[in-house]
């Protein structure tokens, strides 16, 4: 590999891509240092998958420069391909082959010798908890198992850069945790990871840096903490039985947003136990009856609302 420590693992400048008349990527710039996790965060249709497709040489960019592992993706795609492992959104396993056969297929295509291929396949089956499923066709695997096999196949060639396109979408919470552990282990081993996700929590858990993608543009980039500082705090939502209660509480709590029709009050709060106790003590002291209380922590919708000035599609539909 020709990557020197001073070189970033991935650099992207002015990347543009259209499908027909639809502009999908509108000038993306990225810089991913080696040995870090970079998360592309955004809703469906933001251009996350297209970015991964271009970076992993599956499709060609219309404009811009893409360098992966020091190689130009347009001019020398095979050099890029030799350095990367890809796990797509559409699980890329051969359903008619067994888990072991899938891994050996990858070993053959990476031109490893037979013994080395078998050794790596066995090690990966063990590491990804697939030893039992090794001799069953992939078609019979559960979603989580397929995803683990998929990732294992991308690692047979011992890549220095790994692309993970929504690695945990559709997985149950336990499988998601397992996948996170696997990704952390990869980074510990010095691998650079670029992942896409729709979940702020996931990006927060894993990434050193997060880029926020919206309609083909990067709307923000930074460490998780930097981004969270730009997000408004959470709030506590109070539901009242009658307008009098709402009136009394609203008079007491400055800065709250009231909804006369729903009889609710949104009080800015970090949602901590202390803050809640203070809030409830004040309401109790004034004998105001609260019929329902819910805590809202900032989520991806808040991020988007703040940074793009527009709600995500989902939020707008509500």
């Amino acid at each position: 590999m020709t990557v020197t420590p001073s070189q970033p693992a991935i650099t992207v400048t002015g990347l543009r891509k259209s499908f027909g008349d639809t502009l999908v990527l509108d000038g993306i710039d990225l810089d991913v240092p080696q040995g870090t996790v970079f998360a592309l965060l955004g809703p469906n249709g933001a251009g996350k998958t297209t970015t991964v497709h271009v970076l992993s040489t599956l499709i060609r960019a219309d404009a811009g420069e893409v360098r992966v592992a020091g190689h130009d993706a347009a001019r020398d795609p095979d050099a890029v391909r030799a350095a990367i492992g890809v796990t797509g959104q559409l699980t890329a396993v051969d359903n008619l082959l067994t888990g072991e056969e899938n891994l050996l297929l990858m070993a053959n295509l990476r031109h490893l010798d037979r013994a080395e291929g078998r050794r790596r396949a066995a090690a990966l089956l063990e590491r990804f908890d697939l030893a039992e499923a090794a001799r069953k066709p992939a078609a019979t695997f559960s979603g989580g198992m397929k995803r683990r096999l998929d990732l294992a196949m991308g690692l047979v060639g011992d890549p220095r850069i790994v692309f993970l396109d929504e690695p945990t979408t559709g997985l149950d919470p336990r499988s998601r945790r397992t996948m996170w552990e696997i990704i952390r282990d990869l980074v510990t081993g010095g691998v650079t990871v670029l992942l896409t996700t729709q979940y702020l929590e996931e990006a927060d858990e894993l990434a050193n840096r997060i880029a926020l993608l919206d309609r083909g543009r990067l709307v923000a980039e930074g460490t998780p903490d930097e981004l969270k500082r730009r997000i408004p705090g959470g709030h506590v939502r109070l539901q009242f039985a009658d307008p009098d209660g709402l009136e009394a509480a609203a008079g007491m709590l400055g800065g709250a947003v009231r909804d006369e029709e729903a009889l609710t009050l949104q009080v800015p709060s970090d949602g901590s136990v202390t803050a809640l106790r203070v809030l409830l003590d004040r309401l109790g002291g004034a004998s105001v009856e609260v019929s329902e209380l819910s805590i809202h922590t900032p989520d991806l919708d808040d991020v988007f609302l703040t940074l793009t000035g527009q709600p995500t599609k989902e939020e707008a539909a509500r």
């Binding site: 040489t57 599956l58 051969d94 008619l96 056969e101 295509l109 066709p137 196949m153």
Partner: protein, 263 residues
């Protein structure tokens, strides 16, 4: 390793993958081998008595028709194999695994090479099975060993040609259903040739088509090699057709495969 040895190694890997698929999808293989055998039995035992008399030979009847119809049935087997190729390519293209292959540093045409080689093997097995059954029910060719080898060669050429064409069919269609329909005319073409009845028994317009379509020279060549009828210039025309179809199918497939998979 050099580029050439990568090309060979990767194509061999892809071929092994195809052969595994055939083992796991045994029903398709059984259908592709069984269908032409059913046609052979149908034409010999149901239509053969009457059609044989119409050939105007000295013996007439079922035995004479068996001798006449075998090359046509062999071409049915080849065309049916093409349908299988188109379906298996189209199915493969809908799977994520092919996208993965595209992001790996492998000999790029090896995916298609695996399909072509695998289909060739499958179709040649079907051809051998049909020949075997024909021999069992009384087909008695007078071919020399050299003529047998030449027969295998001609059949391999037309199989290669139709396989490449059907790979393109499998790539150009968006669904597996469409891919299974597109090669259907190929299965009918042997009927509109000299495969089942002599072309001079057809109405003029159909006869013109039957004599100039690619299957007829192939069938005439195979028939000449096996039972000693006159070949004339059929062999040359057959080779030209096979080469032409192979080239078109190959170039078309290569172009389709090298497009961006997502557009």
């Amino acid at each position: 390793m050099s580029t050439l040895s990568y090309a060979v190694a990767d194509s061999a890997t892809m071929l092994r993958r195809q052969l595994r698929h055939m083992q796991r999808y045994l029903s398709v293989t059984v259908f592709l081998v069984g269908m032409p055998i059913v046609f052979l039995l149908l034409f010999v035992y149901v239509f053969g008595g009457t059609l044989g008399d119409g050939l105007g030979g000295p013996a007439g009847g079922r035995a004479e028709y068996l001798e006449y119809v075998v090359p046509g049935i062999l071409l049915i087997a080849v065309a049916a194999g093409g349908t299988g190729t188109a379906i298996s390519v189209a199915m493969d293209m809908t799977e994520g695994i092919v996208a993965r292959f595209r992001t790996m540093a492998i000999y790029r045409p090896s995916v298609l090479a695996g399909h072509v080689l695998g289909s060739m093997i499958q179709t040649m097995l079907a051809v051998a099975a049909v020949t075997g059954v024909a021999l069992l029910i009384g087909f008695r060719p007078n071919a020399t060993p050299v003529e047998w080898v030449a027969t295998a060669g001609v059949l391999a050429m037309i199989t290669l040609a139709l396989t490449w064409l059907c790979v393109a069919f499998g790539l150009v269609t968006k669904t597996v259903e469409a891919a299974s329909n597109l090669p259907t005319p190929l299965v009918f073409l042997p009927f509109l040739s000299s495969g089942f009845v002599p072309t001079d028994s057809m109405p003029t317009w159909l006869r013109w088509f039957a004599e100039y379509q690619p299957f007829t020279p192939v069938i005439e060549t195979v028939r000449g090699l096996l039972v000693g009828t006159a070949i004339g210039n059929s062999a040359v025309i057959a080779v030209a057709w096979c080469a032409g179809i192979t080239l078109v199918g190959y170039l078309w497939s290569r172009r389709l495969y090298n497009r961006d998979p997502i557009r």
